[in-house]
Amino acid sequence: MELQNISNTCTSIDISRSSSLAQENLSKPQRIRNKSVDLGDNLLYSEDPRVIYINDPRRTNDKYEFTGNEIRTSKYTLVTFLPKNLFIQFHRVAYLYFLAIAALNQLPPLAVFGRTVSLFPLLFVLCVTAIKDGYEDWRRHRSDRNENNREALVLQAGEFQMKKWKRIRAGDVVKIHADETIPCDMVLFGTSDPSGLAYIQTMNLDGESNLKTRYARLETASSIFEGCNVSGLIRCEQPNRNIYEFTANMEFNGHRFPLSQSNIVLRGCQLKNTDWIIGVVVYAGQETKAMLNSAISPSKRSKLESYMNRETLWLSVFLLVMCSVVAVGMGLWLHRHKDELDTLPYYRKTYLRNGKENGKTYRYYGIPMETFFSFLSSIIVFQIMIPISLYITMELVRLGQSYFMIEDKHMYCSNSGSRFQCRSLNINEDLGQIRYVFSDKTGTLTENKMEFRKASVYGKDYRSSNLRDDVLQDDDIRAVSSRWKLKSEISVDSELMDLLHKDMAGDERIAAHLFFLTLAACNTVIPIVSKDASSGHVRSDSWGEVKAIDYQGESPDEQALVSAASAYGYTLHERTSGHIVIYVNGDKLRLDVLGLHEFDSVRKRMSVVTRFPDNTTKVLVKGADTAMFSILARETEKDDQIRQVTHSHLTDYSSEGLRTLVVAAKDLTDAELEQWQCQYEDASTSLIDRAAKLRQTAALVECNLNLLGATAIEDKLQDGVPEAIEALRQAGIKVWVLTGDKQETAISIGLSCKLLTADMLQIIINGNSEEECRNLLTDAKTRHGVQPASRKNENSKRSNNPENGYLEIPDEAKSSNVLQPRSGKEEPDVCAPLALIIDGNSLVYILEKDLESDLFDIATSCKVVLCCRVAPLQKAGIVDLIKSHTDDMTLAIGDGANDVSMIQMADVGVGICGQEGRQAVMASDFAIGQFRFLKRLLLVHGHWNYQRVGYLVLYNFYRNAVFVLMLFWYILCTAFSTTSALTDWSSVFYSVIYTSVPTIVVGILDKDLSDKTLLKYPKLYGVGHRHVAYNLQLFWITMIDTLWQSLVLFYIPLFTYKESSIDIWSMGSLWTIAVVILVNIHLAMDIQRWVFITHAAVWGSIIITYVCMVVLDSIPIFPNYWTIYHVAKSPTYWLTILLIIIAALLPRFLFKAIHQNFWPSDIQIAREVEILRKVT
């Protein structure tokens, strides 16, 4: 929402500009062209406009069959479900791998597993996914059906009759009553308001809860009362997804006039404060803008996952090596025995001599082919070396993790009742590795609830410090005549109040009058008057009913100003397109609105031309100080003096962190008025370049203004923001604030949220040309000794550690088990920390030129970076700057439409569900209620998720590799013939049933440290930065451990049962049990927090394995029949298992114990402190 702040006024155009920017950005990668941008005003000449015959749907749909109003968000029908779902599922590489393996296994020479067995894993995942998809789709079907079967009044045969939504077609005339939802995109034809005004709420579309105005064209609005048989023609652009633009024209009763954004109501909006509207359907169903906009944000991939893919490559190398060994071994073996192949009792390549297959070879294709087949079949046997199931496991784990994040009471915002939202399921663990946080200011750090604080009227500063306690009392007596009760309480400055109750004489008095009149009139706020039933005021009884006024506006600044004006006795009571009614101290004042120049980001001001009851015309203007001071009148000395005083006031205000606004007005002479009116009419009906023409017109009246004063609005900081920022900084996260505010405001907010501290050295870069920026940058570099990036990178590895590294716990603290929380920065930095403040103008020059890397060098050596006056796309540019120069993870947090591009650019995007629309939330990966939750999200959940997923990946690599290696060693003992001692079913169940649940449970539930500890010592977050939980070194250690364990697993039974009568299935059964117990105990050894679910999962898995073995061994048709009953009777079996487990895990245990006792990591120390202190 920064664009607003540029001038502190905000109108719909402002939002639409920023968000359409964002939308273009959004749609670019998706290759959806925003047609309205192309068509624009040229629509009328464009070749293919959509033609709608009003009230004649048949003719409308005659030539082109436009989409009906039936919507379908569901993907499948009963018939298409199976093929379509399968098609979609097989887009994933993992499933294709399964499919390829299963297909290989169907080839006769390769059939390693039984046919059904080999299909099991594939069928299993397909079924699970299909059930999940099916359930989701069924829910969508249900909501679609509800939506489609709603009813609306449609003009049929001269009367309005109920019709189901799904039967409404383009061209229909529809009548909507108050509080009803609009079924499709309609051009307003007429409303219950004679002037053709309608209010709609666009909550479902963009999340903004305030009312917006829409107008019916006067030409049509009048005719609607005359009769029901209407006819006409609308030409409009083809359906597109831009909800902020609409271009069309209408031919009606022989007139031809343009239609724009303000004439259309969109599906999903609700009609408010208007009895009814009548409209013509232009877009229906899937072609409505609401439906076209329901796109999902692009999916992101977690960094840990991309590292994991690198290690998966290593695993595939291992796989290929193993397969090659088997294949080469097979080749050599066949070569050595090639003369015996027919006499070997266990090979036998030919058929019996007598019989129909006399002497033919049986499945023998020569040594090269056999070698090749042996390679392929070993791929089938070793398939789980590539942990494809890991991707599915990770999805489930992340789902579980997000459940706990969503349920976390500490991230529940009770003010707005909004929970944490997890919109992306792919990047949970990235939250544990964030290095840069890019934060929006308004609505993110601050509440975006504006409060009128100070005013400077006619060169005099009125501060709320003059506030008297009895002022309310006073006020009530005076304000009795105004019976309006405001919903918000505003403290009033008594001095200013006194001034307003003087007689209308003197410049100062008149200026004050005009000042508040401007505040009340020059805006787009809509007052909504309602009877206040809940009024608890005793005093109000004497006045009968008290009316409450609720100001609905698109900008919170304007609402604050109007409320303030009302508190000072200037109550805005009624606003239509033609006039404004203001009660001035109880007296009704009706102003005719001749024209309104809405806010735009070029002029950065807004003006309204009004005719007063005494027939004078005035233009009332408010705008940003930079935009206003240049157009003030400089005639008298008094003007100049006021100007200077006001300017100094403005500087004061903004240094206090207030948002400022300058108010001015002037009388228009008749000549001026006439000239303006003429141009205004011309411009506002213009079809081409309307905006530019209106701007020119505005310039006619917005000049030589008399300065009235300035306002200061406080944008309150959210709760806990300074603490959160401090904690993030201690955690080694760099917080950058990107704001649209001015430099002074930005700095003051930075100070108040402890982002900037007094001892910081501020580097300010605000150049107006490339040269200036370059000088500023180089100057800053030399002055503060910033090293160029290449050298810095070398150093950073070394310097990173002491900076964000270990918790240096003094020895005495450790022994007494007291860990003092570190307060703030204790870095041994000799020089003061640096803060970089840079403005949007400079960024334009820097980001587009080769100065980028200079900026990066400076920015990264600063503790704090503040960017002010930046545009939405620049925000994304800054994020991109960091992303392209480093590998560090970035997080962007914001709440408004202007943050969308930044949120999508960053590795992790966090939206704040706040005052402003839902667009940021829609584009984000996670959504939180307030900024302070970010601390918990990163430090606690981020840390947990990172640790969990990191361990999960390593453990899954280990779990699959140890199994595959065990099979591999055995195959070396079977003449390289890819025999598996394990039964087919056990091999398949191993990763699906025997060992899958504990990993998932641990991935969801395990936690190394309690949230309290993590919040107390933010430095513990550094483990994510240092890639402690998952890195290449850990991978290799794990693989060496895996090798050892697999050797133990294979050779202990081998030596135990050497030269014994053990059969292959008993051995296989022993191996199955041993490996399952081994990997589960291995996991149990690493579990840090045992809850009953963990117990159930780990021990339950072992039990389930036994149960499965017993069941499989109880089916007589399997060759392994009754094996388990036999082996379980023998003590050797149990002794072997025990020996395997202990011998396999002892080295790991030793390593862990040594590491933990002699070189403990931060986490281990913190954990010991946390747990042991509780005990003692």
Binding site: N354, A981, I1064, A1143, Q1156
Partner: protein
């Protein structure tokens, strides 16, 4: 928090457990690897493993085992250079005798095993070449494609089909102590479960070893498969390329100094692929056969645990935190 507290009270115990679950605050056991724990665990492992190992070693030593390789000795000297033609020549008598000297007292039952080496019963082609359905249901069962290339002969199905059955071991042994024949019990050598449920009681060998290419032993076509215990033992294929299979039990004790003469028919062809044949007499106890490995491994793991524990304890005492 006060809200949640009152909430919890209202919702009762069950709900509060669920609340703790959602907040990830369920009561949990959090093990920490403190030095005392580590030392205790290592001591525990040591103190369990060393005695178990010693006990196992003793059990292994109490097993008496006599082993004799006979595949070379039983070939007459003129055939030593061409053993394959010896074994394939039906006219050459295959009988042969071995002399076993009993060095230690052997308590009945004494198990007789034949041991084959370099014989890959676990080869994939071999493992798969059987039809469990046919073994149970007889020749009415036709889905025996796994048995190829030994599925049928002379266009008639073979029962039992497949390589495993076809290569049935067929050396036979008789044992004589002094003058008297030692009684060898050849029943109950296969698993009872196999006899009862896997091999059909009404399935009789059919068309077995009828071709010109004889693989191994023949079966009496009048005895149902469920009683052909040698076949059942043979078809429990071994896990490793060197393996023993039970031949029978001598149900008399053998005293120190006894001489046992084994008369054997050396019919089975292992010469063509260099396989070894051995005859083993062994007593048995709870451990099974003679096997020092398990005991030694236990002692080794146990003693190294104790060493680690002691080293750890010393280090811990020296640098007490």
């Amino acid at each position: 928090m006060s809200e949640t507290n009152s909430d919890r009270q209202r919702r009762g115990d069950r709900e509060s457990a669920f609340y703790l679950f959602t907040q990830q605050r369920l009561p949990a056991c959090k093990p920490v690897l403190t030095p005392p724990w580590v030392i205790t665990i290592y001591f525990l492992v040591g103190f369990i493993f060393v005695p178990v190992g010693l006990f196992t070693l003793r059990a292994s030593h109490s097993v008496v085992e006599i082993e004799e390789r006979y595949d070379i000795e039983c070939v007459p000297s003129q055939f030593r250079n061409d053993k394959v033609s010896y074994i394939q020549d039906d006219s050459v008598p295959k009988n042969c005798s071995l002399l076993f000297k009993v060095d230690k007292y052997m308590k009945a039952p004494i198990y007789i095993y034949y041991q084959l080496e370099n014989y890959y019963q676990n080869h994939r082609r071999y493992v798969r070449s059987r039809s469990d359905q046919q073994l149970l249901h007889g020749r009415n069962f036709h889905g025996t494609s796994y048995c190829q290339p030994l599925e049928s002969s002379n266009n008639r199905p073979i029962v039992p089909c497949g390589l495993i059955a076809w290569s049935l071991f067929n050396d036979t042994f008789t044992f004589i102590r002094g003058k008297a024949l030692l009684k060898v019990n050849r029943t109950n050598i296969a698993w009872k479960s196999d006899r009862d449920h896997k091999f059909g009681k009404n399935v009789y060998p059919f068309n077995f070893q009828n071709g010109t290419w004889i693989g191994g032993g023949k079966l009496n076509p009048r005895i149902p498969l469920s009683n052909q215990e040698d076949l059942i033992v043979w078809m429990r294929i071994s896990a490793l390329p060197s393996f023993r299979k039970l031949y029978g039990r001598i149900e008399e004790d053998l005293d120190v100094g006894d001489y046992v003469v084994v008369q054997l028919m050396n019919d089975y062809n292992t010469y063509s692929f260099g396989g070894k044949k051995k005859l083993v007499l062994s007593t048995s106890n709870w451990l099974g056969g003679k096997n020092d490995f398990l005991g030694l491994a236990y002692v080794f793991v146990g003693s190294s645990s104790l060493t680690v524990a002691i080293v750890f304890m010393l280090l811990h005492l020296r640098s007490q935190r």
